[in-house]
């Protein structure tokens, strides 16, 4: 019965990902950000993150408040503060370096549901014990697909600074 429930759970996950292949999207995202001389572009944020994500907007707002004279554009070629913040994270940086220097692969180690509308994927690089977690929106009735948050191994958000 337990095995049956597990099978049913994964069957439900597979069904709910129709039109939004989480694993393909995650792998594409990881390849993108770990490519050499990668520039964290706003267009990439728009491609890989949930369309309802407020993360970029929140970071832009904070940036503008701290730098009133600077103007940020919505140009997709402009930099994404979200991706910039992600690449500054030490764990993410080490995993990218390991992947690039030793030609190791990104691996999805595990996945599990968080709430009724998201799935968390545990990401490692071959040969490393360090991990990051990518939380994906999983809303089968809505046309939404993408990352809603990226967490460290202790479930603390890497991207969302302020929580209310």
């Amino acid at each position: 019965m337990f095995i049956g429930l597990i099978t049913l759970f994964y069957a439900c996950i597979a069904y709910s990902q129709e039109g939004c292949n989480h694993e393909d999207l995650i792998m594409s995202f990881l390849q993108k950000i770990s490519s050499k001389d990668y520039f964290p572009a706003l267009g990439d944020f728009n491609t890989y993150f949930d369309s309802h994500s407020e993360i970029e907007a929140g970071l832009q707002d904070e940036y503008i408040r701290n730098n009133p004279k600077v103007k940020l554009s919505d140009d997709t070629a402009d930099r994404s503060l979200t991706l910039e913040l992600l690449l500054k994270n030490k764990t993410v940086r080490r995993l990218i370096d390991l992947r690039n220097n030793q030609n190791c692969k990104w691996i999805i180690k595990n996945r599990y549901a968080k709430g009724s509308a998201t799935i968390i994927y545990e990401i490692v690089v071959e040969g490393s014990k360090e991990m990051v977690k990518i939380q994906m929106i999983n809303w089968k009735n809505k046309n939404r697909c993408g990352i809603v948050d990226i967490l460290d191994s202790s479930d603390k958000s890497i991207l969302i600074k302020s929580t209310e």
Binding site: S51, H52, S53, E54, I55, A57, G58, Q60, D61, I64, R65, L72, A113, K114, G115, S116, A117, T118, Q135, I137, K142, N143, V148, D149, S157, I160, S162, T163, E164
Partner: protein, 278 residues
């Protein structure tokens, strides 16, 4: 210590609906065991109303002396468990006839010394519907939500609606009663929800999404807004504001109270109207 029955009889006679017999009957009935009601005045028996009142009062006085024996013999029900007087053990005729709701009648009489029927039936404490009332009572028709506020400037040239989501009950006479208000915003990270009529539908809502932007003080839910369910009502978690959804900026308890109200209404009536004005 006076005679309530006399005043009641006087009132009935004054309204032209009571003769001496009725006055006597009311005096007899209402006075049987209730002679101690505070504030009652002996002068009531000679109020305008003439004979009916007088007869009522006189008969009431007469029955005062006989009522204990009579009550004991007949086991009259309104002579037990009276709540109007601390420690009292009697109920009024009104209580006996109409049940616990009408027990307020005895309190009205007790507080005022006497009370006309119009006073009794127009009192908010009185919930009598089987007798004539001063006017038709408005009937509850339905409920609706109203999101209204001010379009407010934000950083980066953005705008958002800063307002509240209010729950209204609508009645048959056209009146509305506000049953709750929740602080809410729409925007500034996207275009605020459009003004006009929207709906919420049964089955298109849920708890525990797990989405950071939907979590606030322990509350985590979504409620789709039609005709475009890409707009939702949800707690305003994460950074301030929304992409255009209605973000509830309240405590977890109050946010969940709103969710439960909407869910329960939608389950019962299927559709809840949502009006947006700003």
């Amino acid at each position: 210590m006076g005679c309530v029955a006399g005043s009641t009889g006087a009132w009935l006679a004054d309204q032209g609906v009571a003769g001496p017999g009725i006055g006597m009957a009311t005096g007899w009935l209402l006075n049987s065991g209730n002679a101690y009601i505070r504030g009652a005045r002996g002068g009531d028996v000679i109020q305008a109303g003439g004979e009916g009142a007088l007869w009522g009062g006189v008969s009431g006085f007469a029955m005062m002396g006989l009522s204990p024996l009579f009550n004991q013999a007949m086991n009259i029900p309104w002579t037990s468990n009276y709540k109007g007087v601390p420690g009292g053990n009697e109920v009024t005729l009104g209580e006996w006839l109409f049940g616990s709701n009408s027990s307020n009648i005895s309190n009205i009489i007790a507080n005022q010394g006497s009370a006309s029927l119009s006073t009794i039936f127009s009192s908010p404490a009185s919930n009598l519907s089987i007798l004539p009332s001063p006017g038709p009572q408005p009937m509850y028709m339905n409920s609706y939500l109203d999101f209204s506020g001010e379009l407010t400037s934000y950083t980066g040239g953005r705008q958002y609606v800063n307002g509240s989501l209010d729950w209204f009950d609508y009645y048959s006479n056209g009146s509305t009663v506000n049953r709750g208000s929740w602080s809410a915003v729409s925007g500034p990270w996207g275009t605020p929800i459009t003004t006009g009529a929207h709906t919420i539908q049964n089955g298109y809502m849920g708890l525990n999404t797990g989405i950071p932007g939907y979590m606030r003080d322990g509350a985590d839910f979504y409620i789709d807004i039609f005709p475009d369910p890409s707009y939702e009502i949800h707690p305003d978690g994460n950074v301030f504001g929304t992409l255009g959804c209605i973000g509830i900026r309240e405590s977890g308890v109050r946010s969940l109270d709103l969710y439960n109200r909407i869910r329960n209404y939608a389950r019962r009536y299927n559709v809840l109207q949502l009006n947006v004005n700003y």
